[in-house]
């Protein structure tokens, strides 16, 4: 996947001990979060369990039944127990499927908490069976993907990633197909503004969104089918991407596992910093969500690229690397292997900066060398894009050069119209053509030129790494919550008890039962 590996000589002459020290610090930070998370659950986690048990429908107001079910749990003050016991109890007592139980509860015909309680081992037997079915389904989807990919032709990295964002899932599907025909490897369906802040997942196919299209299971399926169809014709497997981050991380991860999404943006820190979501809530959600992604073989993308849209790319690149180290460890705790880890970073310096290209190159290569086995996701210029689409095209050309040069894993293609509108059908075409021509024309530049020893590029990378090590030590000492409170990332300050969704968090009670988590941990070979 990439030419540089930890055993290979560093082109940037990076100090392996510093990298190791960073990882050690990040590991401690992640352990801290891990301890915190394991003692808690959230409404989203519990709703996810209902989905795996087969609940997937909405009431006449459009409220999904997983929400209706878990709301009764919350209303009963029993969120800390988890939904599994009462739901399976109802299924067994009434001899009905989870979906039927959910409908009955919604209709007010059944009250989960007044039914007779069956013996614990009975519940557990059923729950574990159902859980194992769910795990099998996920594995099955994963196998299907693997088979399809095995039949698919490939080209040298990076993979080419484009977005569709019309608001209408059918138009999205049309444009996803054309993008695939033009050579895209990955299609991401952008969500409507605001979806990440709603505490449920909309239901059914949707045709009205702003700046994106709602992430719904039906929508996932529509685009998945379109891409499978066009992919068969092209002899290439086209990957589908959507977003977990937000108030429904694990639920969307579950939908993604069922509908064979291949890549998902999954980053609690993004939600905290850019959506003002409560950090406790979203870190707990992320944990469950990433385990699902991990088992589903989904490549998971983090959002550090966004930091440089609000913070300064020249001054603050070390915060990107710092966050990546932490995010890596958090993902490892969820059983996500490096190959599935798409740490995000971006080209976001002012293009009028003298030698800015060299600094961007240094950063891209630094990230590449520090995370040699990861499917890094390299994000295009956005902040300094303007309505001058012709200058924008040049910026994107430079970005594509760096992507090929440093062999990024995924190149999210820049759009020359970035500053003005979500991509039109022709914009993607222009971007894909640019990437293909440029990357082919410079294919082996990374091997054929060498950074001058002790030169600007090496020094810049070494300096960024050193600052990262320092910052990680600070965070190891004070904890991640404290760092977020200080505005360490993206120049944004967030407090542990502020932000959206805190109400949906509960400490696990002694009775808390979540066989899905146990099964996931087992399947992912995670301890305890």
């Amino acid at each position: 996947m990439n030419p540089t590996s930890s055993t290979v000589h560093s082109r940037l002459d990076l100090d392996p001990d510093t990298i190791a020290a960073c990882r050690a610090a990040a590991s401690d930070i992640a352990d801290d979060v891990d301890r915190f998370v394991r003692e808690r659950t959230t409404v989203a986690v519990e709703r996810t369990i209902t989905r795996f048990l087969g609940v997937d429908d909405a009431d006449e107001d459009g409220t999904p039944l997983p929400n209706r079910l878990v709301d009764t749990l919350v209303d009963a003050g029993r969120l800390g127990d988890g939904i599994t016991t009462p739901l399976v109890n109802a299924m067994r007592s009434l001899d009905r499927s989870a979906a039927d139980v959910a409908r009955a509860v919604t209709a007010g015909e059944v009250d989960l908490f007044t039914l007779p309680e069956l013996p614990a081992h009975d519940i557990r037997d059923t729950a574990e069976r159902l859980t194992n079915d769910a795990i099998a389904t996920i594995r099955q989807t994963r196998n299907t993907r693997a088979e399809r990919i095995a039949r698919s032709t490939t080209h040298p990295d990076p993979l080419l990633y484009v977005i569709v964002a019309t608001g209408n899932i059918y138009e999205d599907a049309v444009q996803a197909r054309t993008a695939a025909i033009q050579g895209a490897d990955i299609i991401a369906v952008i969500r409507s503004t605001g979806q990440s802040l709603i505490d449920y997942v909309p239901y059914g196919p949707t045709t009205e969104g702003f700046g994106g299209t709602y992430a719904t299971q039906a929508n996932f399926r529509i685009v998945r089918e379109a891409l499978d169809d066009v992919g068969e014709q092209l002899g290439r497997y086209i990957m589908l991407c959507n977003y977990c981050s937000g108030l429904c991380m694990p639920e969307i991860a579950a939908m993604g596992a069922l509908e064979r999404l291949d890549m998902m943006l999954n980053d609690a820190l993004y939600g905290v910093l850019f959506r003002d979501i409560n950090m406790q809530r979203t870190l707990i959600d992320q944990y469950f969500s990433r385990m699902i992604n991990g088992l589903a073989g989904v490549i998971l993308n983090t959002g550090e690229d966004n930091y440089l849209t609000t913070d300064d790319a020249v001054e603050a690149t070390h915060t990107v690397l710092t966050s990546q180290f932490i995010n890596e460890q958090l993902a490892f705790r969820c059983g996500v292997p490096p190959e599935q880890l798409g740490l995000g970073h971006a080209m976001e310096m002012d293009p009028t900066l003298e030698n800015g290209f060299l600094l961007e190159l240094a950063q891209a290569q630094l990230v590449r060398e520090v995370f040699p086995h990861h499917r890094l996701k390299y994000m295009p210029p956005t902040r300094y894009m303007t309505g001058n689409i012709l200058r924008g095209l040049a910026q994107d050309t430079l970005f594509n050069i760096i992507g090929a040069w440093t062999r990024q894993g995924v190149q999210l293609l820049g759009m020359h119209t970035e500053a003005m509108h979500t991509p039109h059908i022709a914009d993607r075409h222009i971007a894909l053509e640019n990437a293909q021509v440029v990357m082919n024309n410079l294919r082996d530049i990374g091997d054929e030129v060498v950074f001058r020893p002790g030169g600007l590029i090496q020094k810049r990378a070494q300096d960024t790494l050193a600052r990262t090590a320092e910052l990680l030590e600070d965070i190891r000492r004070d904890g991640l919550f404290d760092a977020l409170g200080r505005g360490t990332f993206a120049g944004v300050r967030r407090l542990p008890n502020a932000g959206r969704g805190l109400a949906g968090v509960a400490s696990r009670s002694p009775d808390y039962y979540n066989p899905l988590e146990t099964a996931l941990r087992r399947a992912l070979h995670l301890d305890g």
Binding site: V174, T178, Q182, M420, H421
Partner: protein
Amino acid sequence: MTIHGRTGATPPDLTSVRPYGDTLDDGIMQLSFSLPVPFGDEAREAARRLLLAMGLEDPQIYHAADLGDGYTFVIVYARTRATIDFTSIEVAKVAAPQRSKKEIEALVAERVGRDIVVLGACTGTDAHTVGIDAIMNMKGFDGDKGLEAYRGVAAWNLGAQVPNEELVARAIELDADVLLVSQIVTQKDVHKVNLTELVELLEAEGLRERLLIAAGGPRIGHELALELGFDAGFGPGTRAVQVASWMVDELIARGLVERTPHGRRSS
């Protein structure tokens, strides 16, 4: 208005201006667009006829590309016969004089005599705070300090994704003089919807005349803002000092400096 540089060359007739490719009045324009028709000679011809139907002359298809699945992209050059009377154009501009931060602070001290209360927010589902932060926050933008840094201004930045209702509630609570609203997402004209809704809410609360409202964002201009019922609009590259100058001027001009708290009035 003088046009320089055409020594010896025919000067343009400013009452009848037409695009200039490489010769005066040649009318040349570059266009590109996609059509939902399959790639091929017929698609090129369709593009050509479309331009003729639009009244363009001599359309030249420079490039056509197959987008797949029955879509075609074209790049075209053509000539327009349309002209525009440049001498008749007048653009509404925010009228305030250029003042420095110091001068503004002095003016507030002298003519207002109290803190001007300014609320900023990025409303609706819009989460783009960089623009409103640039105007409101201490740090400002491009070396120009934000309103928080002004003596005589009490600046409250409510951040992103603020519902209009909440903004109005806070305006009442804090007895605001000025509301600054940022709108960055404009797909399907959602910014117009959001901004119009705010004006309606303020009118419903009887507050509209008692405070100044300004909108800003990359696709917002002064004219659009006026159309939507705002007092001013600020586009890309705006600096806080421009906003401050306008706001003080306008508060004084409208006699809004004598304080009658909204809260009280509306109670």
